[in-house]
């Protein structure tokens, strides 16, 4: 069995957490979106908060890993890693940080500073739309990972 890579594992854990955050988050956006989880706010709220904590942990583990790589001058290419210096990795890094910061403001300041929460909710919602669209684009661009290896013969493929 091949050695399982850290960036590969992080990528798919992040994908599962993001999927759960997306379905629970979008179902709470407004009355028009409620049907996504059958108007069950309790489940949506629980799933969103628990996965938000996991999302923060996984993002900060990734940031720490990337900083450690930088300190050790490790320039290996990590194609599966969720954050990086350019392209979709940079986009994911920026959107993740914005979602975490606005999400923390929404969670912590709910009863303390309502205008700030309203603004954070707006940013959180619109970044989520952009991020969901980008995930669909990302999957389209990466469909080649599901192709069978080229050296596989027809008899093996059957």
């Amino acid at each position: 069995m091949n050695k399982i890579r850290f960036d590969f594992v992080i990528h798919w854990i992040y994908a599962i957490i993001w999927a759960l955050l997306a379905i629970s988050g979008f179902s709470m956006v407004s009355a028009k979106f409620g049907w996504l989880l059958n108007y069950d706010f309790t489940i949506a709220d629980m799933v969103h908060r628990i996965n938000a904590a996991a999302f923060v942990v996984i993002t900060f583990i990734s940031v720490g890993y990337e900083i450690n790589r930088k300190i050790k001058k490790d320039d290996r290419n990590l194609p599966w890693f969720i954050i990086g210096k350019s392209g979709y990795q940079l986009f994911t890094f920026i959107t993740s940080l914005l979602l975490i910061i606005t999400g923390a403001i929404i969670w912590i300041c709910m009863e303390i500073y309502k205008p700030g929460v309203a603004f954070a909710l707006l940013i959180h919602e619109y970044i989520s739309y952009v991020a969901l669209a980008s995930v669909v684009w990302h999957m389209y661009k990466k469909t080649h990972i599901l192709l069978w290896p080229k050296n596989k013969t027809k008899s093996e493929a059957k």
Binding site: N2, I4, F8, W12, A15, I16, A19, A22, I23, F26, V29, S30, A31, K32, F33, G34, W35, L36, Y39, D40, F41, T42, A44, D45, M46, R49, I67, K70, I71, K73, W107, I108, C109, M110, E111, I112, Y129, L132, A133, V135, V136, M139, I145, L146, W148, P149
Partner: protein, 102 residues
């Protein structure tokens, strides 16, 4: 790993999930409404969450003084931590990066 059948099924499942979710979001955005029954269901769902979910638990502990003090100091120190981490990031990049990086 990505060529294993179970993993392909998992990826197809997750990809399908995201495609359907994107479709659901587009339908929700473009459909007319919300209707009165949708708003009532939404409000009823929110009231249920106030009683049974973490949202309700959080609302009941906001009168806790020590928690409010911790929240105050956390929020006050947040900008300074961000500024410090940005400076530390630039310092590390300058120290370890190549000349053309900075």
């Amino acid at each position: 790993m990505v060529q294993k059948p179970w993993f392909k099924v998992f990826v197809w499942f997750l990809a399908t999930f995201f495609f359907f979710l994107a479709s659901g979001v587009i339908i929700s955005l473009l459909k007319p409404g919300p209707s009165e029954s949708e708003v009532m269901s939404y409000m009823a769902g929110m009231m249920g969450a106030m009683e049974n979910s973490i949202m309700g638990v959080l609302m009941s502990i906001e009168g806790n003084n020590s928690l409010n003090v911790i929240l105050f100091w956390t929020i006050s120190s947040f900008p300074f931590i961000i500024i410090f981490s940005i400076i530390a990031g630039f310092y590390l990049r300058k120290r370890n990066g190549d000349k053309h990086d900075v």
